[in-house]
Amino acid sequence: MLTAPGFLTNHELDRFLGGGDTGQRQRQRLRHDHLLPMPAELGKVRRFNIALFPRFALAGLVRDLARIPDATDVMAAVTARALGSAAFAEVSAAVRESARALNVWSFDALVEGVVERAADALQEWDEVVSSVERALTERLGISFISELGVIERVVNDICRVSLASGRVEFVPCGRVAAATEEGNTVVLERVNVLSKEMGYVMPLETTLDKDELELTTWFAQMSAPEPEGVVAERQVSNFEPLPYERSRPRRRRWRGASTMTRVPADA
C-alpha cells in the first residue's frame, strides 16, 4: 500500500477551496451545482463534523466538469455505488475511531489511524476507488494520476515537492492536505478535466515505517527516467584561437611519414 488515501473529508475539500468559511461556502455551492457528489455523513465526532468523499470527488473542484455531458450524473451514481460497498463501511468506521483520537484536525494522523485500524479494508476500498477512476477516464475522459514525492521546503506559502519522476512541482499550500514538514513523503494527485489539470498534495497511505518509506521513495527517485531525456553534454574546450590566420594555406613538401602506423616484426 503506497498511494494517496482513497477518501478525503469535508475538511480537506474546504482547504482546497480556500479554507475557513470561504472554503465551506464554496463546497456547499459545488454540492448545490451537483459538481460534488453526495458524501457519506459521519456526523460529529468529538468536535469534528465529518463528511467522507471518495478521492475521485476531486474532479468536481474543476468547474469544467459541468461542461462534460452527463458528468455530474455519472459522478453521483458511481459515488453512491462506491460508498455502498462493504469495504467502505469498514473504512468509515475506522475513520470515526481514528478521528476520535484527534485533538486537532490532521489528515495525516487521521489516515494513519485508519491504516492502523483497517488496513485490509482500506486496501479493498482503494481498489474500488481506482477502478471507478479508470472507468471515469474511459467514460468521461477525466484522468487521475498519483505520483510519489517528497516535500523539499515551503517558501511564501508555496510548497516545493520533489517528485519520484525527477521533476519538481510547486503547489500552493492551500492545495496541500499533508503535513508540510521538510522530507515528508507525500503523493501528488493530479486531476485532469478537459485538459485543465489541478494537483493536490495528499499524505501517503502506507503501512511502512518512516525509514522504509524514505528508502522506497529514494529508490523510486533513483530509478525514475530522466524527464527531459538524456542530452549529450557539450564538450568544454579551453582552446583559444589566434586572433589572426594565414593569408594562404601552406602545403608540406615532405609528407607520408608516420611513427604510429608501422607494425614492427615479431620478436
Binding site: V231, Q235, L242, E245, R251, W254, A257, S258, M260, P264
Partner: protein, 304 residues
Amino acid sequence: MFEDLGEGPHYADPATDVVFGDIFEAPFLRDVYVRDSTALMGGGTLRANLALRLGKWMGEQLPEEDIGLYSPALTPKPGARFALAQATFLPADETPRAILISDSCLTATALVQGRTKRSVGGRLLFAPLSVVEPEQWDMLVRSEDFARFPLPVDERLPECSVAELGSCFMVDARDVKEHVHNRIVSLSAPLAEELEMHWSAYAARLGPRAYGRNTLKLASLLSGGGKPGDDEQDLADAVADVLDLARFIEAQDLEDVSAAEEDVRLSGGDAAQLTPPLVENIIEHLRELSDQAAAAADCLSARA
C-alpha cells in the same frame, strides 16, 4: 587543416588487424574518467531471480535478467577492480563510438596480431567521437584546436563527427580483441597521418601542427604583432619546411632503419644488403636539411 589530405577516399573498410585510427562502435566505449568522488566498489552480479525480488523491495519492475549491483559501501575485491567513475552521457538512441589512438605497433602487441608467444593484455587508448554542429565542425577545421580532431564526412559516420582527443580513455585489450567486429571504418593513410599530427600536437606540442602554429606566431612577431604579412609568412614557412624534412627523416628514414634492423635481428635479413640504401637516403636528406636550414637561417638573419 586538411590542405594535404587530397580528394580521398579518406576511409576504408577495416582490415583483419586492428590499427591506429580504427573507429569502433560499441555500447561499452564510454569515456570514463575520475573525479575526487571516485572510489573502489564492491559488489557483483545478482542473478535474475534475485533481481526480481530486489525490484519488488525497491518498488521497481526490474527486468528478469542478471543485474550488476555495485557500491563503494560494499567491500572492494582486488580481482574485480570496479570503481565509481564519471562518463559523458549520450542520448539513449546513440551508440558510443571511439577511435583508436594507440599506435599500430603497441596495438599489434596488445592484441597479439602477427605475434607469437604472447597473450592478449594491456590497455589501448581511445578517443570518444562526438557530433557537433556544421559551423562548429568548420571552425575546428579552420582553427586547429589540438584537443579536437574533426573527421571528414563518410556515410559510415554521423556527419560532423569529431574525435575528442581531450577526453581519451583506456580500454582493456581483452575487450578490444573481443570486439574487433565492432569496427565500422578505418582511416586512409593520409587521414591517419593527419590524426597522428593532431595527436602529437595535443599530447606533446610537437610535430607539424604544433610548429605550424608556432611559425605562424613567428611571422606575426616579425610583422610587429597581429596579422602576419606575406613576406614574414614566407620567412616563417622556411623554418617550418626545415622541420618538415627533419620530421620526415625521423618518421620515414629512421622508421625504415628500424624495420630493417628488425628484419636482420629477427628474420635473418642481410645487413650488408639492407643498410646502404637506407644510409644513402639519410645522407641525402641530411644534406638537403643542412641546405634548407642554412637558407632559412640566412633569410632570418637578413631580416634581423
